[in-house]
Structure formats: C-alpha cells, structure tokens
C-alpha cells in the first residue's frame, strides 16, 4: 500500500520512529526506518506492506517498508 505521511518519534518503549499517515492511521515500521528518514516531521511517501507480527511497541499497524522517499 502507498501512503503519504509524517515521520514521528515516539519516546515510549525505549523510543522508536513511526509514520503518522495522512489517512489518520499510525504505521509502525517493525524493521525501523533508514537513518536518512529518522527526522522528526519529515514528510514522506512510502510503499508499505503489512507485517504480521506483534511488538512490544504496541503503537500503530505493524508494517515493512518496501520503498520510501521524501515529499
């Protein structure tokens, strides 16, 4: 699925980066984000696929990032 959204840092569960989608959903990249995209507030377009995993982060929908680029 393709989404547009904003990179957000969550200071919980030890800290992690997430995607706040423009569709109002939260997306949790379970394998993290590339370092270049670990920037609070950066607008991005991302191609995501669902990741059927459970996590201790318990924030948003678990996804894997297939592709990501800045907007």
């Amino acid at each position: 699925m393709k989404i547009t959204g904003t990179i957000v840092y969550q200071d919980i569960e030890g800290g992690f980066w997430g995607l706040a989608g423009d569709d109002g959903r939260k997306y949790l990249p379970v394998e993290g984000l590339p370092a270049a995209f670990q920037v609070e507030g950066r607008r991005v377009e991302a191609d995501l696929e669902p990741a059927d995993v459970l996590s201790f982060r318990m924030w948003g929908r678990a996804v894997r990032v297939v592709a990501i680029k800045p907007l």
Binding site: I12, E13, M58
Partner: protein, 495 residues
C-alpha cells in the same frame, strides 16, 4: 472535643465566674487567663496553616464565650452575659469567614483527615459510634456523586479528628469489616518534588525502608504504596515463591539485581533490553543493597523467568507468543506477563486458546493495554477473556498521554508507566515509558499475592486488585491504580 477546646472552655468559664461579681477571687481570674493563654498559644503553634489555625481558634473562643454567657445569664448578670454573647457571636463570625475564605482559596478546611469508604449498602450512622469514640467528625468526600452514579465514590467520607488518634481510629474502623470497605490516610500526594523547588545548594534527604541505592528515583513504587507494602512483607514468610513469567525479548538472568531471583527458563539472555526492564519491575531483588526495588522483598516472594517470544528487534509472531504462553503455563508459572500486542478486529484464535490453556493451568495472565492513545477494545492479547489489561498512569496519576483506554474491557487496572527506572542488560539501569512498564508492576504484585496464598484464583486476584485499587481522576478510562499495601493486607486478612 479536643484538649485545646476543653482548655478554652474551662478558661472562659473561670473568667465568667470571676467577672460575675460573686465569690470573687483573684486566683480564679489568674487561672482562667493562664489557661486561656496556654490554649491560644497551643492553637497558634499547632503546626497548621493560616486557615487551619484561625478557624478552630475562633470557633473555640466563640463557643466558650457563648457557654460563659449562658452561665452568666443563669447567674443573673445580664449585662455581662450580653457582652460575652456578642463577643462569642463575633468570634464565630470570624471562624465562619475563615471557613469561607479557605474554601474560596481552595485551602483545606482541616489539617488532616482519613478517607473512609463504606460498602454500597452501608450507612455512616452504623460506624458513627466508633467515630464518636475518637471525637471524629465526618462529611461526604464527593457529595455530588450519587450512589447510582458510582456506588464506591458515593460511599467515601472524609473523617476529621485529632491526627494523633488516626492510627487507633483506623484500626478500630478496619475491625468493622461489615461496614467498612477501606480506610486510609488522606495524605497529600507529593510523589516527586521537582529539584527546582529545593533551596539552592540544599539537598533533600529522605529515608527509605529499602537499602536499594536507586529507590529514591522510583516514583512508581510510591504511587502503588510499595514502601508500605515492603513494611508488611518484611516480617512475613510466603507460603511459597510464586513464578512470574516474562514473555518478551528474554531476560538477562545474570543481571546483578535479579540473578538471585531468576529461575530456570528458556530466555536467560536479552539482546534488546525490553524484557530485562520488565523483569526488573516485576521482581528485582529488593533490599539487597543493589540497584532498584520491586515488590519482591529480599527476593523471597517472586521468582522471575524469561520466555523469548520477541526477537532482538522487539517483534514476534502469533505462534512464538502462543508457544511461550503454553511453555510458561506448562512450567508452572503463577503469573504470565505480556508487555506486547497488536490490533485486530477479533483476537487471534491461537492466542485465545493459548491464554485459555494457561488460565486452566492456574496461571494469572496480565497484558499491556497498548500505547496508541485509543480504545483497547481491539488490542490483543489484553482484550482476551480472562486477561487482566493494564493501562499506564503518569506521575500525577493521570492516564499517560500514550496509554490506550480500557474501560471497554472486563478486567482493567492501571499502574505507573512513565519514566520507570528498571534494569537493562549487563548490570545497567535506565528509565523507560509505556504500558509495557505498567504491566510487570501488576504482574509482580500478583506474584506476591500468589506467594502469600497459592490457592488464589485469577478471578479472585483481579477482584482484590480492583477492590483495593485507588480510584483516580481517569479511572473511568484506565481502571483503578493498584495499591500494593491494601492488596497484600486483603490477602493476609483472608488467610
């Protein structure tokens, strides 16, 4: 009537006797004035604030003057009686103004009080004789809450009296289990005073029961009345050690602050740190002169085990988690703590069945409510039937900004989950936030309860934690904050 009030009354009666003009004796006036001076000074230096001092002072003086006026009237000295009467009214007027001022400024109208909660069907008149015995007066704590709106809050009373008698009064009230659900000191909660509030260069030293060097940084322990719980546990012997299984990223079983309480388990290493953090909250060895404290006093009550269902990145599959639940149950876990989850329209069947298996094996299962600041109705495994769902509160005992709400779930509870200090691998420590941190706090307490009473069922354990929990502002969204002291007391009383 307290002692100072009695002194004031006697003083004014002696003065009235003297000014009545009959049987005049300078020693009577001297005694009256001396007693009055002692009473006024005692009131002024009683340690209360402005309003807590002037309200009882002018009330004492006013009532004493009215009594003296009555005595003078009986003695047919009407002119003097009238003066005493007017002065008495004026004093009571000042006390009334003080009371109004205290209310307007939000200041407490009394220096100290107890919070007394009766059962839903009980009446305050039934405990009034006990209160009268200690000279205590009472009023409803939440007069705007009806029994229909909340049968607990509606039955809470503020009890005022001499603080010196509170310990005995509390014990007397607790003996009346038929009417009294709970009684506790209505103390001001000052969990973590900001450093800036200390005078420059001054350090505030506080003595703790525990000798764990980092205990002063554990606000969460104070919030669940952990220090008071330690005082209860210190002389107690558990029926047996309870096993608390941490299903997470594994646990560094060689960490200096948990190794003597760490049991045989498949996950004794932790490549992430999350599982070790949770394990420390649930069962770090307390009063061992090392690191932090949990509720596991001297490591005698809880044995912690680790099940590595999540990888180093912090994620796991349904299967790996279900398998860990089954393994922990088969290994005899008393409590299974899961600081993990995901969202789905209905909880996955495999996990429902694994949890059912564990419950039938006698385990108590607790799981985090989630961190998305939304309703946890679709967050599993915390929404699975029979699971205790745990939300997080912050230092003000309000819902943590990230915590999911769990009002829609059947077994909601809350515990501290913001800036919680605990263990991380290789003998290190750090603070973390999340409902992950709240869950092992509840799991650790459940372990202690099981250690005291191994026959405690999951349902009974939840009921105890709910009934003894502290109602806070957001309890309608996150459940009651667990109260370790009250829960342990409840289990001990039922043994």
């Amino acid at each position: 009537m307290d002692f100072i009030t009695l002194l004031t009354v006697i003083a004014f009666l002696l003065i009235a006797v003297d000014v009545s003009g009959r049987d005049r004796n300078p020693l009577v006036m001297l005694a009256g004035m001396t007693l009055l001076g002692i009473a006024l000074l005692s009131r002024l230096f009683s340690g209360g604030g402005f309003f807590e001092t002037i309200i009882p002072l002018f009330t004492d003086v006013g009532l004493s003057l009215l009594l003296a006026a009555a005595w003078l009237a009986v003695r047919k000295t009407r002119a003097k009686s009238g003066s005493f009467f007017l002065l008495g009214l004026a004093s009571l007027g000042v006390a009334g103004l003080g009371y109004v001022g205290a209310r307007l400024l939000g200041a407490p109208a009394a220096q100290a009080s107890l919070l007394l909660e009766l059962g839903p069907d009980d009446r305050i008149e039934e405990v009034a004789p006990v209160l009268a015995r200690y000279g205590a007066r009472y009023e409803r704590a939440f007069p705007t809450v009806s029994l229909e709106a909340d049968e607990d809050l509606a039955q809470v009373y503020l009890v005022y009296g001499d603080p010196a008698s509170f310990e005995a009064l509390t014990a007397a009230l607790r003996q009346d289990a038929e009417n009294v659900d709970d009684v506790a000191l209505n103390r001001t909660v000052a969990l973590y005073p900001p450093v800036a509030s200390s005078p420059a260069g001054a350090t505030v030293e506080r003595r703790f029961l525990e000798n764990d060097p980092l205990v002063a940084e554990q606000w969460g322990l104070e919030a669940i009345r952990g220090h008071e719980a330690h005082a209860l546990l210190r002389p107690m012997q558990p029926a047996r050690k309870a096993v608390v299984a941490i299903i997470d990223t594994g646990v560094d079983g060689r960490h200096e602050d948990v190794r003597s309480a760490f049991g045989k388990s498949p996950g004794n290493r932790d490549a992430n740190g999350h599982g070790t953090h949770c394990a420390g909250i649930a069962g770090a060895v307390t009063n061992n002169g090392v690191g932090v404290a949990s509720l596991n006093w001297e490591g005698r009550f809880v044995e912690v085990t680790g099940y590595p269902a999540l990888g180093a990145g912090g994620a796991g599959t349904l299967e790996s988690i279900a398998q860990a639940v089954i393994d922990a149950a088969n290994d005899g876990a008393d409590v299974i703590s899961m600081s993990l989850g995901d969202v789905a329209p209905t909880p996955p069947r495999v996990l429902v069945e694994a949890v059912g298996f564990a419950l039938r094996k006698g385990a108590i299962v607790a799981a985090s409510a989630g961190n998305a600041d939304e309703d946890a109705a679709t967050h599993f495994p915390s929404n699975i039937e029979g699971v205790i769902a745990v939300a997080a509160v912050d230092q003000q005992l309000k819902k943590a900004r990230f915590s999911n709400t769990i009002a829609s779930l059947t077994r909601p509870l809350a515990a501290p989950g913001v800036d919680i200090l605990s263990l991380t691998p290789n003998d290190t420590y750090r603070t973390m936030s999340g409902t992950s941190m709240a869950t092992p706090a509840v799991a650790g307490l459940l372990g202690v309860l099981r250690a005291l009473n191994p026959a405690l069922t999951a349902e009974e354990a939840y009921e105890i934690l709910h009934e003894t929990g502290t109602s806070v502002e957001d309890s309608d969204r996150v459940g009651r904050v667990v109260n370790a002291e009250a829960a342990i007391e409840a289990v001990r009383a039922a043994l």
